[in-house]
């Protein structure tokens, strides 16, 4: 059944192809249902292919499905085809699975939006591009998907483009990603120059002839792409701004799937990283620092989604830390569990935002747990998962990452552990401010039959759990977030399902750790203690009050002023340079030259036309003058 793999990306593409011309006619909610059905069908196909792949022997779990030659120039041949192996299928499975749930959720969430069909058109296109990214059998096709998700991300961040902040946030995401994409492109050129191919299998087979400096360059350039896409330092500010998009978009693109593309890429090129340990170290350290900066920044945010955004930055940092350490399984493991609990948290926050009628400030919330039991409980599970409270999934995946970080160098572990404490703390802060404590909003009377969302003329709020479209995904994701850790339990080689599954792809280059069972238990206990301390601190500090300015320094609220610093250093200088070229170089030098030539031409035309007097005698004179010059010339030539 593996040959059915082509359906996995094609089904969402078909959804896009249907919705793009017909979406408006199909309308609300039919367009949403079609989109959801397409992605769910894609998920079903993925599961079938997954199972089929599982039935092969581990060494034979790699299939290439060539479609056609995409383009060819000289000795360059770029094909379009799929690489079906455990890594790509793992990615495809969780992408389609989480996408299906978020599509379903969006039917409820976007119910009152006028652009409902357009939203699902973009969403399906995004899923297609994301699947091409992970399923492609060569770098160029992956880059196609990479750019595709980037453009969909742009469309969806700026979905409410009438709002200035949304429009500029979309632009910002695009520009930051451009910087990374430049690195990706340069890496592509270098890869082709060194190996003569773009196909993953061929490139990896020829790495022996490439030479370490080139490998380091390729790895770091690809990592630059990953830094942009996966919001690592210093290219992360766009992700916080990207929260202006609709919340399902934040959940799907800016938490669960697209932003993990960089991590996927690092795992995919594990043979290169293995041969370029210097580059791997850079990746690990950038990841660790990103985890810490993201976690600290999340502690001081007041926007319910901004907290989650910086949390995502931090978690992506963990994944990069794992990938840079050579712990690819841990990276993928964290990516999976993170997809579950972060999607859950975002969807939960979307549910809260709906209930609060578009107010996103957690300082204006409080005491919602009783009014919104499903949202409250599932959010709690999400919090415990991300915090790493045993036995929720985050405990296992983050524990795996930290253990491997220790094996590389304890310094990385320390940064990771501190960030882990902060993670438990800032999510606790958010939970308490939103769901516990006193109600810092005015309650309105529930008027029967009147249920006007988004109307300014209401005299208070009446929060409640959302419709089943939105609740069902919460429940499913909460279950996955709680139990997701069991796909890769430590302690016994029989339980590390994920590691054994991914072994054919990454096994050869995996970091080998030599911890005894006792040491592993020690790590587990320490992790659990850190998580529980964070939870406890959050509870003591934030249970009673919402105002603790000392714990929310402006430095952290501004995310270490990195965004502003980049704005001052890079953006303003480039703007100044652009202004200079526009006003001086362009309008004076270039336009001046062009206009000058034009005036000169016109001027000489005006002068020359005066020769045309209309008198035959003058014309004859001109003819004779030409003759005289010509004869004089040939006579001079004749003498020589």
């Amino acid at each position: 059944m593996i040959h059915a793999a082509f359906l996995i990306p094609i089904l969402p593409l078909a959804g896009f192809a249907i919705l793009f011309p017909l979406g408006r006619r199909l309308g609300n909610p039919l367009a949403g249902w079609i989109a959801t059905a397409m992605v769910t069908a894609s998920f079903v196909v993925t599961v079938i292919v997954f199972v089929a792949l599982f039935q092969h022997a581990p060494a034979h779990r790699e299939f290439t499905q060539s479609w056609f030659t995409w383009f060819g120039v000289g000795r360059l041949r770029v094909g379009a085809g799929l690489l079906v192996d455990p890594l790509s299928m793992t990615m495809a499975a969780f992408i389609t699975g989480v996408s299906s749930l978020i599509h379903l959720y969006s039917i409820g969430y976007m119910r009152h939006d006028e652009q409902f069909p357009k939203f699902f058109t973009y969403l399906n296109l995004f899923v297609f591009a994301m699947l091409m990214l992970v399923l492609a059998d060569n770098f160029v096709l992956s880059f196609f998907g990479w750019e595709g998700v980037g453009v969909c991300s742009y469309f969806l961040i700026a979905f409410w483009f009438e709002r200035d902040d949304a429009a500029s946030a979309g632009k910002k995401a695009m520009i930051f990603n451009r910087i990374g994409d430049a690195g990706f492109l340069l890496a592509l050129f270098l890869i082709f120059e060194r190996t003569g191919s773009f196909e993953y299998t061929t490139v990896f087979a020829r790495l022996g002839h490439v030479g370490t400096p080139s490998l380091v360059a390729i790895a770091l350039l690809l990592f630059l792409g990953a830094v942009g896409k996966s919001a690592q330092i210093p290219l992360f500010p766009w992700l916080a701004d990207a929260m202006t998009g609709p919340t399902p978009v934040s959940a799907l693109i800016h938490a669960a799937t697209m932003v993990t593309a960089g991590v996927y890429l690092m795992c995919r090129i594990n043979p290169i990283l293995h041969l370029a340990p210097d580059a791997a170290h850079v990746i690990a350290w950038v990841g660790a620092v990103t985890a810490f900066v993201g976690a600290t920044s999340a502690c001081a945010q007041n926007d319910i989604k901004k907290v989650l955004a910086y949390s995502t930055v931090s978690q992506l940092g963990y994944m990069m830390l794992a990938a840079g350490s050579g712990a690819y399984v841990a990276a993928i493991f964290l990516m999976l569990t993170h997809a579950f609990y972060k999607a859950l948290l975002f969807l939960g926050s979307g549910s809260v935002i709906h209930a609060m009628e578009e107010d996103q400030d957690i300082k204006n919330m409080g005491g919602l747990a009783k009014l919104m039991p499903i949202t409250g409980i599932t959010f709690l599970i999400g919090w415990f998962s991300i915090a790493g409270v045993p036995p929720f999934s985050g405990f296992w995946s983050k524990g795996d990452v930290l253990e491997n970080a220790w094996a590389v160098t304890p310094a990385l572990w320390v940064i990771g552990a501190v960030s882990a404490f902060l993670t438990a703390y800032y999510m606790g802060r958010e939970y308490f401010l939103v769901f516990m404590g006193e109600r810092r909003w005015t309650e309105g009377r529930q008027v029967a039959g009147v249920h006007d969302h988004g109307s300014a003329a209401h005299d208070g709020l009446h929060p409640h759990d959302p419709s089943w479209h939105m609740s069902l995904p919460l429940v499913v994701l909460a279950t996955l977030a709680a139990l997701g850790g069991f796909i890769n339990l430590p302690f016994h080689p029989n339980f590390v399902f994920l590691e054994r599954w991914l072994d054919p792809v990454v096994g050869a280059n995996l970091l080998t750790t030599h911890f005894s069972v006792g040491q592993q238990w020690l790590f587990a206990v320490v992790d659990a203690a850190i998580a529980l301390t964070g939870v406890a601190v959050a509870a003591t500090v934030w249970r009673a009050t919402a105002e603790r300015p000392a714990l929310e320094p402006r430095f952290l609220f501004m995310a270490w002023f990195i965004d502003r610093g980049e704005d001052r250093l890079v953006a303003r200088t480039s703007t100044a340079l652009a202004n200079f070229t526009a006003t001086v170089v362009e309008s004076r030098v270039i336009d001046g030259a062009v206009n000058g030539v034009a005036s000169l031409t016109r001027w000489s035309g005006e002068r020359l036309r005066r020769v045309q007097s209309g008198y035959v005698r003058n014309y004859a004179l001109g003819l004779v003058a030409g003759l005289v010059v010509l004869v004089a010339y040939v006579l001079v030539r004749a003498g020589s």
Binding site: R602, L608, G622, L623, G626, L630, V634, L635
Partner: protein
């Protein structure tokens, strides 16, 4: 038939033999295209003279198209002979039947097929009867053909005159036109002047080489090194002046704007294509095949002339306010491009020039045909204002005109693009980089004035603003179907209703009455279309369609034409 011809020929031979003149063997098939034109011309004159009633101009046009088609077919037969059996000379080595010559026979036949169609509508509109236009065109065409195939300087001179004299008459053909007589007179005087110079050039060349036969001159120059070559080079310079005058190369171009502007517009289109085809055919043949040994001398001269022609044509066209005058300068610019191929003096360059002339002939015929139609009755409304809003009133005509103009500017997917491309590429491959750069610069300048005309046609004029419409209203008045109104300017308020049109104020007082009389009709026409409708007769429409089709078909698929030009050069 053949028997009687043989008898006549033998009788003639005997008669001539009696006088002691040696009569050369005449291979009639070798000059059949020319003979068809001349014979057809005689038939047309005969029919015209014998017919009891004046025949409609369309009848003569049909006959001319038929004659030209027959000539085209016989030219193609010659082409087949030449490709199969190689080039040959005929009529005592005076006529050269080779690929190069036959290429021009085909081109000239094509011009003669299209030109009568374009003239028919014009002559009908202007109420000019008679067969003279067609007869003169056929004579001129036969002269151009002889020029293209001549292998002797004397024959070239004769052909030049056969080509030119009908053109002088055509320039003054419409005697009622104010500028026509002046144009004809100027053209004739200056043409005679340049012919004299040309003949003197032939004399000097004969003096230096002892022959007027091109092949013998070339052979002489190949055998002998002329130590004192002042006479030869002087002859060469004089020949160049004669040719330069014919093809309107700077500085021998000065007649062009006045003559092009003054001549009846279809005649302008005809002379622009025919004179350049014939003139360049002889110029290329004489310089490239007869005087290749003197290339180092004439190449710099051509270089300078080409640059002057390119630049002056483009730059002065820029400031013209009369479309015909602008196109006259634009044709000077085109001549500069053809000179590029001569300057390269390679097979590639000559092929490029041939391609250019082929493309140019159709472009210029079609362009002037549209100008003639837009010029309206009287053929005198050639200002830019006349074209304002044409794109909205008559989109098909405007689009056709735009295609022709864009092709002249060298826009891709037209023959104009490939024409410019081939000659510039030839210049580059001959290392004439500066010349190629100047040519492309001049094309950029030229694009401006072509595009300006296109822009004028398609610019939005849906709501004329009061005070700005004066000149436009003036031209609408001038072209009103009521008659020829020579209004200089008419104040015409924003609203285009007949009532308001009646408040016209003419600048020239004497014409107030006439203007007021026509006001009703002017207003009506203006109200409907914001300008006069251009009447395009089916004949003219067909002709323009052929020109546009050629431009587009060979623009998209130039290979056959490129191969034709290339092969013509190979045999030559």
């Amino acid at each position: 038939m053949t028997g009687s011809t043989a008898i006549v020929a033998s009788v003639a031979a005997h008669l001539v033999a009696a006088t002691g003149i040696v009569v050369p063997h005449i291979d009639y098939t070798a000059i059949l295209p020319e003979l068809i034109l001349l014979g057809g011309m005689l038939l047309v004159v005969l029919v015209s003279a014998l017919s009891p009633r004046p025949l409609p101009t369309e009848a003569y046009a049909t006959a001319t198209v038929g004659i030209a088609t027959a000539s085209l077919i016989s030219s193609l037969v010659l082409w087949r002979d030449v490709t199969n059996h190689g080039p040959f000379t005929a009529v005592a080595d005076a006529v050269n039947v080779d690929g190069f010559g036959v290429f021009f026979l085909v081109l000239i036949s094509c011009i003669l097929v299209v030109a009568p169609m374009l003239a028919a509508g014009h002559l009908r509109r202007e109420g000019i009867e008679g067969c003279e236009y067609y007869v003169l065109a056929l004579i001129s065409g036969s002269g151009a053909m002889f020029m293209a195939t001549a292998n002797d300087l004397v024959l070239i001179f004769l052909a030049l005159e056969i080509l030119s004299i009908p053109l002088y008459i055509l320039a003054g053909f419409d005697h009622r036109r104010e500028g026509s007589g002046e144009a004809a007179m100027k053209y004739f005087v200056l043409g005679a002047f340049s012919s004299a110079i040309f003949v003197y050039g032939i004399a000097l060349t004969y003096g230096a080489t002892g022959s007027t036969n091109l092949a013998q001159i070339a052979a002489f120059l190949a055998r002998n090194v002329v130590t004192s070559d002042g006479v030869l080079l002087g002859g060469l310079a004089l020949l160049l002046v004669g040719f330069g005058f014919k093809v309107a190369a700077v500085p021998f171009h000065m007649w062009t704007p006045d003559v092009y502007q003054g001549s009846p517009t279809p005649a302008t289109g005809f002379m622009a294509s025919m004179a350049k085809a014939g003139g360049f055919a002889a110029l290329l043949r004489v310089f490239v095949t007869t005087f290749p040994t003197l290339r180092s001398t004439w190449q710099p001269a051509i270089w300078v002339i080409a640059i002057l022609t390119l630049v002056l044509g483009a730059v002065v066209a820029l400031v013209q306010r009369d479309v015909k005058r602008m196109l006259a300068y634009s044709s000077i610019n085109h001549a500069g491009f053809v000179l590029l191929g001569l300057e390269a003096a390679t097979a590639r360059g000559v092929a490029g020039s041939e391609f250019y002339l082929f493309a140019y002939s159709f472009l210029v015929l079609g362009t002037f045909a549209v100008v003639a139609a837009v010029g309206g009755r009287g053929d005198d409304a050639h200002g830019f204002e006349r074209y304002r809003g044409l794109g909205r009133r008559q989109p098909v005509l405007a689009v056709a005109f735009s295609i022709l103009l864009l092709a002249q500017a060298g826009a891709p997917f037209t023959t104009g693009f490939f024409a410019k491309f081939t000659v510039v590429a030839a210049a580059v491959s001959a290392h004439s980089y500066a010349l190629a750069a100047v040519a492309m610069g001049s094309a950029a300048v030229a694009a401006y004035f072509y595009l300006r005309l296109v822009l004028v046609m398609f610019a939005d004029v849906a709501r004329p603003r009061p005070g700005v419409v004066a000149t436009r209203a003036a031209t609408s008045g001038a072209a009103a179907p009521a008659g020829r109104l020579d209004l200089a300017a008419v104040g015409f308020g924003g609203g285009a209703t007949p009532g308001r049109a009646a408040t016209l104020t003419a600048i020239r007082p004497t014409e107030v009455a006439e203007a007021t009389a026509a006001a009703g009709m002017v207003g009506e026409a203006t109200a409907k279309a914001d300008g006069p409708l251009v009447v395009v007769s089916p004949w003219v429409a067909t002709g323009i369609a052929i020109c546009v089709a050629t431009t587009l078909v060979f623009g998209v698929w130039p290979q056959p034409l490129v191969d034709f030009a290339h092969q013509a050069t190979l045999i030559f």
